[in-house]
């Protein structure tokens, strides 16, 4: 394994950890928030709801 691949893997492990689904969900939720806010609709509720949902799903996966 090359040094670059090792470094990339270390960065991935450091930032994303062992739950990549939650990390992808966070990015998707921010994107959806930007889309809704950009359309001029109130979007303040999206992130709190998304984070609670992602956390509950993550806990459920971990508990299983």
């Amino acid at each position: 394994m090359s040094a670059a691949v090792k470094a990339a893997r270390a960065v991935w492990d450091f930032i994303v950890g062992d739950d990549w689904v939650t990390a992808v969900g966070v990015v998707a939720a921010l994107g959806i928030t930007a889309l809704i806010a950009g359309a001029g609709v109130a979007a303040w509720w999206v992130m709190p709801a998304a984070v609670l949902g992602l956390l509950a799903l993550s806990l459920r996966r971990a508990a299983n």
């Binding site: 950890g17 999206v46 956390l55």
Partner: protein
């Protein structure tokens, strides 16, 4: 000091204190069993590397456009915060073992005693490397938290000072008891840090994405309170339905 600045200082202090407790255990174990000077050199060099990282990247972070910075900071804080929160909630629900500093100290000491001496002159390379690695790895996440929190509010110096204060407090406590800080309620602190990181991540991430919060900065208090309550509810849910969770797989 404004509310967000106080939140910044408290969050960084708690996050750094928790990581410093874990790093202290490693330094103590290696210092006690191998070599105090080499262990302390390793820890000192790691702290210098972390400080250089913050000093080097700080200006670059603060020069980013505010919306891009907030989205990036929000995403990072959310990913980190949710990791802290998830582990703390699983431990609070007894679904994951609590971090035991006394056991960690014993394991680290046994490994240090078993390792062959490979030092030259007065430097024990094993003691130096283990202390350096332990402090660097435990501190890296704190460095990112200092950069993201501090960079977003252009208060990196305040964030670094809060981290430094936490290190001083933990080291002083370690010197006082001369043993791993096994009585520190680590999981409660981790839970608090997870709630704070995630709350700031929600607030700044959404702002960066174009959201105007009802109540402006005061909304942050509502997010923190709401997330703390939701966390308590999630612990109760996990404790009450482990069988149901298992069957749902």
């Amino acid at each position: 000091m404004s509310g967000p600045e106080l939140g910044l200082a408290v969050s960084v202090f708690l996050a750094c204190a928790v990581e410093a407790v874990e790093a202290l255990t490693i330094v103590l174990a290696v210092g006690t069993t191998r070599s105090w000077p080499s262990s302390l050199y390793g820890a000192g060099v790691a702290v210098i590397v972390l400080a250089a990282l913050i000093a080097g990247l700080g200006p670059a972070v603060t020069s980013l456009p505010i919306h891009a910075l907030r989205v990036g900071v929000g995403a990072l804080l959310l990913v980190f915060g949710l990791q802290w929160l998830r582990k703390a909630l699983l431990r609070a629900a007894h679904l994951k073992a609590l971090h035991d500093e006394a056991a960690a100290f014993e394991a680290e000491s046994a490994a240090a005693l078993a390792a062959q001496a490979r030092g030259v002159a007065r430097l024990d390379s094993y003691a130096f490397a283990i202390s350096f690695k332990g402090v660097l790895l435990e501190g890296l996440e704190v460095a990112v938290i200092v950069l993201t929190f501090g960079g977003n509010q252009h208060r990196i110096a305040l964030a670094a000072a809060a981290a430094g204060a936490a290190i001083v407090v933990v080291v002083a406590a370690g010197l006082a008891v001369r043993a791993p800080l096994a009585r520190v309620p680590e999981n409660t602190l981790k839970l608090a840090v997870g709630v704070m990181l995630t709350s700031f991540g929600i607030f700044w991430g959404a702002e960066g994405a174009g959201v105007s919060w009802p109540g402006a900065d005061a909304a942050l208090l509502g997010i923190i309170a709401g997330l703390a309550l939701a966390s308590a509810a999630l612990v109760l849910w996990l404790r009450s339905t482990p069988r149901a969770l298992g069957e749902a797989a």
